[in-house]
């Protein structure tokens, strides 16, 4: 791998032991992946923040790095951690879990990382420009950034994203290279996409069907930001998809000739199969909305649905978002509307990375296929998927 003189200097320890270790790590990944050189990144987004996920092993490494003087040199934000940093008691989190989670956040803070914990960094100020090279690790944000923003990132692991933030570079391979961003398969969408949940089902169906590569969707006439956000999450959960194109919607779709590519038809039956696969028998006792984290508009939709209603006895409505969006929702009154109905609006964490099972729920209903994909294994819970209005109604008084 070719390194410039500054990169060689970092590798030789000129900028300290922590930067040297970070560069060693990136060079090793670059060599394994066949990169010819490094590329400068403009931002980083680091996963592996929840104590429940990285455990004592991750905590130890992060504290060691902070102690050894590791400091990030590009704007860097965090993935959701394992609890709401203020409302942790309401989630059933205990004191020892909380103490270790706070040590993880503190280690990141010492390294200069913004301790905003969200899977939607692009909604809270970590918004790259088209063509920017970045090192992000949250799989839904990676898929969104490549596809919708036109920024360039591979699916980083937590340590490699942190290392990239520390040296301001990442090995140039995969989706950093123009040729790897070309469509590899055409998805002929024959289902009508009526709700945001339909976009989630479509993403889930395509991830399951094609697994990897860069799908180009035909037959989608319009999609808003939040449709693309929830579809990105589903594509990356059921498959390893990190980029897609939609002609007329995403910025790079028009660059490519698609003649000769394999075509895969996806219809209403395929979406229904996914809905069935993610839906169990029985009555949900917890509705979770916000995977990925809610935008202000989604918070408003939930508020409109619950205004003047009450969450049923023994059930709960938990909405997940970033601190910044919650603050905006407090100003607009939507948070209060949800809370007055008996719902909660949690920040910094989500249903997939917090210890949801400790709160004593058994069956989650959600509009997000990604959440329903992971929660059975992360929290041992049953799941149901439904479009937003129905999902919320399942836990309200006089619901279904």
């Amino acid at each position: 791998m070719h390194l410039d003189s500054e990169e060689e200097g970092i590798l030789n320890g000129r900028e300290g032991a922590a930067a040297k270790k970070a560069m060693e790590l990136l060079v090793a990944i670059g060599e394994v992946m066949g990169a010819e050189r490094m590329v400068r990144v403009t931002s980083s987004q680091v996963s592996g923040v929840s104590y429940g996920n990285i455990g004592d092993a991750g905590l130890q490494l992060l504290e060691d790095w902070a102690e050894n003087g590791a400091r990030v040199r590009v704007p860097t934000t965090l993935n959701p951690c394992g609890m709401d940093l203020e409302r942790w008691k309401e989630m059933g989190v205990d004191g020892s879990y909380r103490a270790k989670q706070l040590r993880i956040i503190e280690a990141f803070r010492r390294m200069g990382v913004s301790t905003t914990c969200t899977c939607t960094p692009y909604l809270v100020g970590n918004l790259p420009k088209e063509g920017d090279h970045i090192a992000w690790s949250e799989s839904s944000a990676v898929c969104y950034a490549n596809s919708v923003i036109g920024a360039r990132t591979n699916r980083e692991g937590g340590p490699s994203a942190l290392a990239a933030a520390i040296v301001g570079r990442t090995p140039m391979y995969g989706l950093h290279l123009e040729e790897n961003r070309a469509p590899t398969v055409i998805i002929d969408v024959q289902a009508e996409l009526r709700t945001r949940h339909d976009f989630s089902l479509l993403g889930y169906a395509v991830g399951r069907r094609v697994g990897s590569g860069v799908p180009l969707f035909e037959g989608i006439r319009r999609a808003d930001r939040d449709d693309l956000k929830i579809m990105s999450a589903a594509l990356a959960a059921s498959g390893g998809i990190a980029m897609f194109h939609i002609p007329g919607v995403t910025p790079e779709a028009g660059r490519w000739q698609c003649r000769g590519l394999e075509r895969v038809a996806v219809g209403a039956r395929d979406l229904e199969d996914c809905r069935e696969a993610l839906t169990c028998d029985g009555e949900p006792d917890l509705c979770c909305i916000g995977c990925p984290h809610c935008s202000l508009e989604e918070l408003e939709e939930v508020a409109r649905l619950v205004k003047g209603r009450r969450v049923a006895h023994g059930k709960a409505l938990w909405v997940w978002t970033s601190k910044k969006v919650r603050e905006e929702g407090e100003r607009t009154g939507h948070v209060r509307t949800i809370e007055e109905a008996g719902g909660m609006v949690f920040t910094d964490t989500c249903m997939v990375v917090c210890p949801l099972e400790r709160a004593g729920f058994r069956h989650m209903v959600t509009d997000s296929c990604k959440a329903a994909h992971y929660v059975p294994s992360t929290a041992g819970m049953k799941t149901t998927v439904a479009e937003l209005r129905e999902a919320v109604s399942r836990v309200m008084e006089n619901g279904r």
């Binding site: 270790k21 394994v32 592996g48 990285i54 092993a57 490494l61 937590g158 340590p159 490699s160």
Partner: protein
């Protein structure tokens, strides 16, 4: 007198180490698959279940599972249970990152199949800087 063989591969984590080989045809997930407090393999159904990776030259095809595995490799080092070296057929990012963090030599793409050429119990020296692997055969071949 031990029979010796030398192989050459690609050095990924450029450290040196030696130890007794522990060889498997199955992939290894360090997250959930290896106990960071003891170094014992704990993945159900794995052919090395219950074996200890501490100070061993671990030979396996490639890593699998969660990227948190990199952190577990680091924790094995901190707890005194790191392998002496790792040899993969074709490595991937979880193992590569873990070995860099934990300063464990890592070599892959050997010029012969290490899983059939090296037996558990052989003594193996690994030079991650040059990619050279020297095997002192202690276990009889058929």
């Amino acid at each position: 007198m031990a029979d010796e063989a030398v192989f050459r591969g690609r050095g990924v984590a450029k450290f040196r180490g030696e130890g007794e080989a522990l060889v498997t045809r199955q992939g290894i997930s360090f997250f959930g698959g290896v106990d960071p407090d003891t170094g014992k393999i704990m993945e159900r159904g794995h052919e090395l279940l219950g074996k200890d990776v501490t100070d061993k030259v671990l030979v396996f095809p490639k890593g699998k599972g969660s990227t948190v595995g990199s952190y577990v490799i680091y924790q094995l080092r901190k707890n005194g249970h790191a392998p002496a070296a790792i040899i993969n057929l074709e490595t991937e990012a979880i193992i590569a990152v873990g070995c860099i963090l934990a300063e464990i030599p890592l070599v892959d793409r050997l010029d012969a199949d290490p899983i059939s050429e090296i037996r558990s119990g052989d003594w193996v020296e690994v030079d991650g800087a040059t990619g050279f692997v020297m095997v002192k055969r202690r276990v009889p071949r058929h």
